[in-house]
Symmetry: D2
């Protein structure tokens, strides 16, 4: 079941003739065995996106060496690029509040190694999650977000995130709006799960909004957090059927199931370096 170690190279750059040839040629010269490769050429922006998984053993070099050798090609093509190593665990800090379904769900996936990540700590603005988190052997921090002084709380969250050397921050139904400068500083590293099928029902109480509008499906959206509320690039979405017979409470219950799977799928794509931002859209390379 355990896959062997591999490196993931991903990049985007202006499209032109010869990119794949150059990159694949480079990898072949190093003896690189390609496990999986995917590309996307965006016709509107004329930008090219690529992601390749290469067996580490076939290359026989460390990621740092690979990066050094690849850098001239990246320069030549003007790439925005990254090499990651499957042997290095991603560090994911989870922010939670009082509703724990997404947290339970992520902890189960972590516990059984479906998500092969480190969760250095969970931060919440309420105490509800403490017992569960600590029972899993994970640090828990209660950081209240005061109505009148939110800045102090967010400063503490940022301090903890850095202290624990977090790579990615996941808002698992955190229910608080991050300050703009924090969004800017960690752009592309903070994932949120919004409990509606965006762009419908932005903001507060989306299940109430969905009920009032009488929609026949409800949804959830996993997106990168940006300064504009619920406007960030969408990573993943899904929906479930509801009917006139469902109250707002029923919608919320039914929605929990979508929130969990959509967040888990979006996070997985992000962790596997499949997601690249293209303007306000995402390219998700399978």
């Amino acid at each position: 079941m355990q896959r062997n170690r591999f490196y993931t190279l991903r990049f985007s750059c202006p499209d032109r003739v010869g990119i794949v040839a150059r990159v694949a040629g480079f990898l072949a010269e190093q003896g690189g065995w390609i496990l999986r490769s995917s590309q996307h050429a965006d016709e509107q922006t004329n930008r090219f996106f690529m992601r390749v998984e290469v067996r580490a053993e076939s290359l026989g070099i460390e990621p740092a060496v690979l990066r050094e050798r690849f850098a001239p090609i990246a320069d030549e093509f003007g790439m925005d690029w990254r090499v990651s190593d499957s042997a290095v665990r991603h560090r994911v800090v989870i922010l939670a509040s009082r509703q724990l379904h997404c947290l339970y769900d992520l902890l189960e996936r972590w516990q059984c190694r479906e998500l092969d990540i480190d969760i250095p700590c969970v931060i919440a603005n309420h105490e509800d999650a403490r017992g569960l988190v600590e029972w899993h052997g994970i640090d828990f921090h209660h950081v209240p977000i005061g109505r009148d002084d939110k800045a102090a709380g967010f400063a503490e969250i940022e301090r903890l995130f850095n202290h624990y050397r977090g790579d990615t921050m996941v808002l698992a139904r955190f229910m608080q709006i991050l300050p703009p400068e924090l969004c800017r500083r960690y752009l592309g590293r903070v994932l949120n799960i919004h409990h509606s099928f965006l762009p419908s029902f932005v903001g507060a109480r989306p299940y109430d909004q969905a009920y009032q509008r009488g929609v026949k499906l409800i949804g959830a959206t996993c997106h990168y957090v940006t300064e504009e509320l619920d406007q960030g690039p969408i990573i993943e979405q899904d929906v479930n059927r509801v009917s006139h017979a469902d109250s707002v409470t029923d919608l919320a219950r039914c929605g929990k199931d979508i929130e969990k799977t959509v967040l888990a799928r979006g996070l997985r794509y992000h962790l596997e370096d499949r997601v690249m931002v293209n303007g306000n859209r995402t390219v998700v390379l399978r």
Copy 2:
């Protein structure tokens, strides 16, 4: 395959104790064999909705007699009510334009009697559909909607609808906005298929809007037409998965499949007297 003749009684009224007992008691006294029955009690508006199918043979009376006998009960409970007869074919006038997928789809369902309706005529603001419609033995009327004088076109559409004694008007990708007074006059009798998952992407070019927002699912919505564009009560919706690799053209192609099934399902619910409007929401009794 052919179901025996039945009458459908449907109503809504303020909720209270004893409604089902009174209605079911009345039907039992007449010897009525209930084929199917469904109810909904709306807790927010305290309104009760019910739909019953009764075998005509078991009652042994004509619908007019049934209506006469039921009227006192309807009065007593303050019902908004209707009795329909499965032996009387609904008359559906279809409005089309240049894209014919919904029209093809409805004609096939009519041809094989999946939809057991009469289509007295098809009206379109272009000539494209004429051949197909006339080959099916259905009258076709080309009514141009001029940029500067839309009123004349819509007056002619209304005249034709009445001339052909239409019960229901279906906008099968008609792409023109009906004038407000026409919406008011035929409230609850005009169905539209909008090519987005409402309330997202109201108005023109929804697939372009969906592309720009980078959604991961696209949808379609069948709703009653009201004065406010794309704001009418939703009857049915569905979605399909798309990805970053899909152009606007791909979204439009993929969307056609959802438009066809959503319109057909919505129309079917309407024709079977399953849909009742509750404020700006619908109750769809299965």
Copy 3:
């Protein structure tokens, strides 16, 4: 959010004229306010199924009295019937093994009162779940199922189920086949989640079977356990899209999400007394 106390009457009986009238009439005489009611008339078997929720307060009597008063009607119509009380918590015993995703999922729903049940104990043939279960304050019993002497293990499971006065037994990926006499004794009270879209891929290793057949969707099925393996009446099913790029491990991971939601939905229908068995099919009254 908390709904007021209500009684649920459900029954099936041979279909004939006047059943709804009689039942609704009886309830109206008692002052019963109907919250929700649904029926189904099976044309093939000529059997009628009904479920009604009535506000306890409007009746002003205890369930025992209601049962006593209703019994003559039940006799008259030859009903298979039951009255349950929303104030009495269902006792659900969960059987687990080494894969804990369904268990995590059920515990979260129990913890936040989405499932308003008692879980008197969890039984497993491995120790893996102990910590999590006991942290939730629920009794845990490790009952090994020996390869050569399975009977002893199952006898102990039955003893525990009875000792804890369990109403329903849930096999949450228990991975052991229950002995026939146990299936017979608790017919309609034992739910299983099978990790395929039945009737495809009965028995062991369904994800391997699905991979070998090259299906484009994988599924899960919640059903009542009967003597014949994976042949019991189906309560709920769902599927997820997969592709050629997915390994057996990927199918299993993707399948976990469907297993969790399908089991939770099936269990919910069962607990709310919505499921009635009709031959080897189920009627699930919404």
Copy 4:
């Protein structure tokens, strides 16, 4: 909307280091602008699959020349390969019977150029489709399949298919089992739509089978026809939700919608040279 002319190269071969480099290098040398490229490495069979779309204009050569130049590489890697040209229309012969929903659906897609193919003729074992087909300006052939002498009918079908130089044969609810030698002779060129979610409900009357088993979703499967009935490689599948309230007739009606879209999607993948057979599974490169 019209995409510029492009060539599609697709192949499979034993996996090894350097395939992508060699192929992409070759294309880059010819000045080939890659529009879209996808790969799959099958870990079980150690086989590599690839599909590339290249702008014809960027190559500046005809397909025959491209084939000639690529042949040595194909030999070197032991490829099973093909180059197709978007300017050459695929010739699709449709076989129909009495139920016309798939035929209507395909004709609409052809009429509006969603499917940019030639339909040289439609063959059916009943006369029902003649009028519709001929109205579209397409040849229609009625070929009865006698109960006692099916061979003559199938010989005539094969003769017509060859006479019209068909590339692909589509069984659009043809309802007749093709003789084994015909299956062998046109392996990978005959698509069928089966009205169940295979491998469930093989053979006759799948909706009856689905009804009897009480499944909660029904499906359809588009697959290549092989000698073993309903056992060929699956190209595409989908499902729709049904309930206890749906009769066999309802299942069939609801199933029509899935049949249409699944056949159209499967055919599209096939026509775009996305489908490669891998044992009894398919690789569908998006």
